[in-house]
């Protein structure tokens, strides 16, 4: 007994705790970072942690192989995988670059892993993979695909048909080849377990009857996001048989509805008292938006960022009644005035995203937002911690004010539409403005900068942004010093992505060891040369240094390459499994 008491007091005696107890304690720890830390304590804990780990997050699918993953975590149930680098979202990465799902499914199936949940981002998914997935994991429950491509509705049909216990099928912003088949019909009549169904990104027609039957037999359905082929009447019927919905994505209905249809819609909406999240509206007559007024006040999440047809006034009219909204995604057609109204109405706002309605400035659009809107939001919304803001212009004064108003930013992403644009009032760079942001926001984890910026802003970032994990740079800086400030200063940096900035070999090679602490580095249209990249690859064999060529047709010829040649796109990442074997010809791994 005394010994037991003594053992509790001495930490070195922790090993004497029965494993089951430790495992039980570990069950309470969900964050994968904490789990990673736990596993480093000692061998015993490492082992216990391994077998009790059910959720694994892999930020870069090429950092580890599926076989090694399964060996370490045989009891895996939920896997999150990310493939292509972030800039692939903006067409900067060739389609065939990589990020294939199939080897993972293959390995998981062979390893008899009891996979239940799979979340993918920027991966290439094939119908074959989906078919294999649907047949290999009896308890499979949840599939979430974000920004993926490579599959068709046939793949979805296999998932629908074979996953007997499917709860979640969530397709967000994927490029899916819609065969306009009957994939919704493939859900067996016995399938009644659906909790979340999101097919908003499908471009083709939808079998409305099949959808209605499916919704009717899914009493647990909480989230339903339909695509644009679901018209008003169908939506009304769906909502009528699913008044328990919490999250709704609305389709598209262009024409002015008949008064009777409209009345039915309003009645159905009124019954959805649990509705908290609304999205979709890709093409909608404003009157249909008004049908949602009765539940406006309950909304905590509102995404009108695809409602391109709605102009400022209607957006404002609606949003001002959403007094509890915490997450708001909207187009810049709302204007500065609209944002001022949001600031005065939406006091619970935590995350705001303002997207450009006219990214290439093709329409003579004077209502895009400026610094005025941002300042208003920062002043009016005390809980704001995340922002993505596309705007025409920004001033240092505004950024300094924003920093003072909102020191709690975790994510601050500002995109001034015109590259290199200075402060329009002072014609100066925006170094001071962003400097104020990083200095005030001590918890800042993600930052995107834009506008005219010199090396100085990076000095500020290196000095103050202690928690920064992800930094996106475009058309900024003057010399290598800029990049060096960041690499030397930001201790917690994990992802750095740079485009069109004058950083070269000196910055790239100054501290090779830094890249071991980071997930990845992207540099495109910068000053790094082939020679510099080669040197890096030689000094850091635990890095994959990939050169993505402009000319996608052929690999570089070793003999003819000129080491002074500037590299168009460089992507490097740490890995424990060395060079990948699935790289296409346009990618050279040094």
């Amino acid at each position: 007994m005394n010994r037991a008491i003594k053992s509790r007091l001495s930490t070195s005696e922790m090993n004497y705790f029965p494993d089951e107890v430790i495992e039980h304690i570990f069950d309470f720890i969900a964050s994968h970072r904490d789990r990673n830390s736990i596993s480093l304590v000692n061998k015993s804990w490492h082992k216990i942690e391994r077998y009790s780990r059910h959720q694994v997050f892999i930020g870069n699918c090429y950092a580890i192989s599926p076989e090694r993953l399964i060996r370490r975590f045989p009891c895996l149930r939920s896997l999150t995988l990310k493939g292509k680098p972030h800039f692939a979202d903006f067409n900067l990465v060739p389609h065939e670059w990589g990020g294939f799902l199939h080897p993972w499914i293959d390995a998981l199936a062979k390893g008899r892993v009891g996979l239940e949940e799979l979340r993918l981002k920027r991966m290439v998914v094939s119908d074959e993979s989906l078919e294999l997935l649907s047949r290999s994991f009896v308890s499979f429950k949840s599939l979430v695909l974000v920004s993926c491509d490579g599959f068709t509705t046939d793949g979805l049909a296999s998932v629908a048909a074979n996953c007997r216990h499917l709860r979640e099928l969530d397709l967000q912003e994927n490029e899916i080849d819609d065969h306009r088949g009957q994939w919704l019909n493939c859900f067996p009549d016995t399938c009644t377990t659906l909790v979340s169904l999101n097919f908003a990104c499908l471009k083709g027609e939808t079998n409305l009857a099949a959808l209605e039957r499916l919704v009717a037999r899914s009493p647990n359905l909480k989230s339903l996001k339909v695509n644009r082929a679901v018209p008003l009447e169908a939506l009304t019927r769906l909502m009528s048989c699913a008044p328990q919905l919490v999250d709704l994505g609305v389709g598209c209905y262009e024409n002015e509805p008949e008064p009777e249809s409209f009345a039915k819609l309003m009645a159905a909406i009124k019954k959805c008292t649990l509705l908290r999240s609304l999205s979709g509206f890709s093409e909608v007559a404003p009157v249909c938006l008004t049908a949602f007024y009765p539940i406006c006040e309950n909304l905590t999440s509102l995404n009108l960022s695809y409602a391109a047809e709605l102009q400022g006034n209607h957006l404002i009219e609606f949003v001002q009644f959403c007094k509890r909204v915490q997450r708001l995604w909207i187009l810049d057609s709302i204007g500065d005035k609209g944002l001022e109204i949001v600031a005065s109405s939406c006091k619970e706002l935590q995350e705001l995203r303002v997207f450009p309605s006219d990214p290439h400035d093709e329409e003579d659009n004077n209502t895009a937002v400026t610094e005025v809107g941002l300042v208003a939001i920062s002043a009016g919304c005390p809980k704001l911690h995340s922002i993505l803001y596309f705007c025409k212009q920004m001033t240092n004064e505004a950024l300094i004010t924003v920093a003072r108003n909102c020191p709690n930013f975790i994510r601050f992403r500002l995109c001034i539409l015109e590259p290199n644009k200075p402060d329009p009032i002072t014609s100066q760079s925006l170094d001071e403005g962003f400097g104020a942001i990083v200095q005030a926001c001590k918890g800042l984890r993600r930052l995107s900068v834009s506008g005219l910026l010199t090396d100085k802003v990076f000095l500020y970032i290196g000095m103050y942004a202690e928690q920064l994990e992800m930094l996106s740079i475009a058309f900024a800086g003057d010399t290598d010093k800029g990049m060096l400030y960041v690499l030397n200063g930001c201790k917690k940096l994990r992802k750095l992505e740079i485009r069109d900035s004058p950083f070269g070999n000196a910055a790239l090679l100054a501290d090779v060891g830094k890249y071991e602490t980071m997930r990845s580095l992207w540099m495109s249209s910068c000053e790094v040369t082939l020679g510099g990249c080669k040197r890096l690859a030689r000094n850091a064999p635990w890095l994959n240094v990939e050169i993505i060529n402009e000319n996608e047709s052929g690999r570089m010829e070793r003999n003819e390459e000129d080491e002074r040649e500037k590299v168009d796109r460089l992507y490097l990442y740490r890995t424990v499994v060395g060079t990948r074997r699935d790289a296409p010809p346009c990618v050279t791994i040094l």
């Binding site: 067409n91 920004s147 490029e175 890709s282 007559a285 709605l310 102009q311 404002i316 609209g338 003579d364």
Partner: protein, 323 residues
């Protein structure tokens, strides 16, 4: 003459005859024309006595910017034709409009990456003016440098070159391609949803400055400009009446009684369209059949925003006569 040759080489289409009349001395003035600081004489509106020595000058200038024959009925949509611009009799009125709308027009003229669309609006209404003679040109031509706000000139120079740089930057602005594609194809998809694959109906969006939402019209359901015009009038009158006096964001976009009257009288608003090349043109300048072929979308613009388009009612009338 060598200067002229040099100038002519800047022009992609053969210049018109007026060029040949110019004396070599026009060269200096040409440089002034390009010198933006000199063009700050924009605001003065008087037809001063510079006509005669500017005749030659302006012809040269016209040459520089014109990619086609002044006075031609060419439908080249990239044509810049300050010569035609000059013929507008309302030119003396423009500067005052400029003052009123200088904030909005200047807003459009940002340092780099000027909106091609807007600048082309100024220069591409080619045919709605009267068939011009050189003499007529010379009378009003001198207005060109004076009525174009500073920034516009630089835009003019660049208009014959590829569109604003920012439109060509790959992957910029950083918006997910899924999102960009979805917003871009909204128009197309709506045709599908309407059940018409495109051959039967020809829907184009109609937007109006200050309107809360867009409308769509089927161009094939009209047979001439008149029908289109009255249909639009009905559509937007109803809407504007409905919104008169409503609350909402105050500001220059809000329609009020006076503006409504002007709308109905066709004074303050003009109907423009975007053609297949992305240029904004005044409605009524081409035969109806050609119009519905090239029209991508319609926009009811405020007169002062469409500098140079203020004589729209007359133009539409003219083209009705022609069509």
């Amino acid at each position: 003459m060598s200067l002229e040759e040099e100038l002519q080489s800047n022009v992609s289409v053969a210049s018109s005859s007026p060029t040949k009349n110019t004396a070599g001395g026009g060269g200096l003035k040409v440089h002034n024309y390009f010198g933006l600081s000199d063009s700050s004489s924009v605001e003065s509106s008087t037809l001063s006595g510079r006509v005669e020595d500017d005749k030659a000058t302006i012809s040269l200038k016209a040459t520089e910017l014109t990619l086609g024959l002044p006075g031609s009925q060419s439908t080249e949509l990239d044509l810049l034709s300050p010569a035609k611009l000059n013929e507008k009799p309302f030119f003396p009125l423009l500067p005052s409009k400029d003052e009123i709308c200088s904030s909005s027009s200047h807003k459009n003229i940002v340092a780099s990456g000027n909106k091609r669309g807007f600048s082309d609006t100024m220069y591409t209404e080619k045919n709605w003016m009267f068939p011009e003679s050189v003499a007529a040109q010379s009378v009003v031509k001198k207005e060109v440098p004076q009525n174009i706000p500073k920034g516009q000139l630089s835009t003019t120079n660049n208009s014959s070159s590829p569109p604003a740089a920012k439109a060509q930057i790959v992957g910029w602005p950083p918006v997910r391609s899924y999102r960009k594609n979805t917003l871009a194809t909204t128009c197309k998809n709506s045709d599908e949803v309407d059940g018409k694959p495109g051959s039967a109906a020809l829907f184009v969006k109609v937007s109006m400055d200050g309107a809360p939402y867009l409308r769509k019209v089927d161009l094939r359901s009209y047979t001439n400009y008149g029908e289109l015009s009255s249909a639009l009038e009905k559509m937007f009158t109803t809407f504007t009446l409905g919104h008169c006096g409503s609350n909402g964001a105050p500001g220059k976009d809000m329609l009020n009684e006076t503006k409504l009257k002007d709308l109905l009288n066709g004074k303050d608003y003009v109907l423009t369209y975007e053609d297949k090349d992305g240029d904004w043109m005044l409605v009524g300048d081409v035969p109806w059949e050609m119009f519905i072929d090239v029209c991508k979308k319609l926009k009811i613009m405020k007169g002062c925003d469409a500098i140079g388009l203020a004589a729209a009612p007359r133009a539409i009338e003219k083209s009705k006569m022609r069509a």
